[in-house]
Amino acid sequence: MENLSSLWESTGLYNFSGPQAFMMLVGFLLLFLAIKKGFEPLLLLPMGFGAILSNIPVAGIAEEGGILYYLYFGIESGVFPLLIFMGVGAMTDFGPLLANPKTLLLGAAAQFGIFSTLLGALALNLIPGMEFSFKDAAAIAIIGGADGPTAIYVASKLSPELLGAIAVAAYSYMALVPLIQQPIMRALTTEEERKIEMQQLRVVSQTEKIIFPLMLLTLCAVLLPSAAPLVGMFCLGNLMNSCGVVERLSKTSQNELINIVTIFLGLSVGSKLSADHFLKTETLGILALGAIAFCIGTACGVLMAKVMNKFSSTPINPLIGAAGVSAVPMAARVANKVGLESNPHNFLLMHAMGPNVAGVIGSAVAAGILLSLVK
């Protein structure tokens, strides 16, 4: 009967701690958001499942010898987020940006969401129970970049313990972009501004699309090498797609490879949703800061667009500024939708894709700055 009692002592029931049970509920909540609400399901589903698996007592799935322990090495080494970034690069069309390069400034402005959040995180230290180091603050700030792989890459380098909370915040708010952005966009623009029609974009030649990623990479290598891993893998994916001579590599990086890595990445990020890392007052701070970061980024993008519209020879609809936060392609779609409400003949989608991919570049640049200056 010794066996029976040792069996009882090996049950989850005997070993469950309250926090573990709570974290499993968080995992189920993420699954619910992913499946029923359609919140970024490609990442939140494996992430939620990883949270459940890693909080099962006794099983040790996220401890040495468990599968999530081994998979996590793909994040620790930076390989997983960089491969995802390569796949995203292969899916990205720089055409709209090249046709209207000044929209890059909108992508720059929206990064104020990152740096203001950094200040906010440092300020939260005033509240008792919150304690963020400078590195933590920088890792939290990157949520404002509204770009999943960038956030995971930076957090894994600067503040691995906060990785789970940061990834959850980043992907949740990316899924909430329509809810978060619309009121801000409406509040900051007049009906007249929202009606502004933009000139049709010129056709961009294949040569330009081939040269651009190489130019971007060169600029990055020369001026901001700490952003080179992110920017480099993004440009590699983009070049594989635009050059047209390695179609089979481009397709694989956009499909099977990114799918496999997405499953592994989601599971491993979820394994950082353990009770001792997530159930802290700090997590509430991170969630709050993330929401604020998205709001500030959106606002800055819209305001920048208003300023540019004043000085530009061709009209600029301020709504496309909101797409500068990245969150490709949701933010661009929101701009399109809000624009259509004011002027049913005004299709802003392609115009908003410019600032949208500019936002990706902008947040990779900001990530490079954080990685190089925060030590």
Binding site: P101, K102, L105, A108, S205, L219, L224, G244, R248, V365
Partner: protein
């Protein structure tokens, strides 16, 4: 604490400055690139570059083989 805030504010200004400088420089570079390409390498017929490689070309081998076999057969028949 205040020290950290000061450092944070400094980082904010430097950071936004660099982001803007970098992307502004990129705008200039894009404009230069576009000008050069439109002047010296005007819109080529895009389909020009065709992949040729060990991995993708097995089909071609088959195709040529098939043609070769077909022609061979045809010739034999019409001798």
């Amino acid at each position: 604490m205040t020290e950290m805030m000061t450092a944070g504010i400094e980082l904010m200004f430097i950071g936004m400055g660099i982001v803007f400088a970098f992307l502004a420089l990129l705008i200039v570079m894009i404009n230069i690139m576009t000008a050069i390409i439109q002047r010296f390498f005007p819109e080529e017929p895009i389909t020009a570059t065709v992949p040729t490689s060990a991995l993708t070309s097995h089909t071609d081998v088959g195709t040529i083989a098939a043609i070769s076999a077909a022609v061979h057969k045809y010739r034999n028949k019409h001798k």
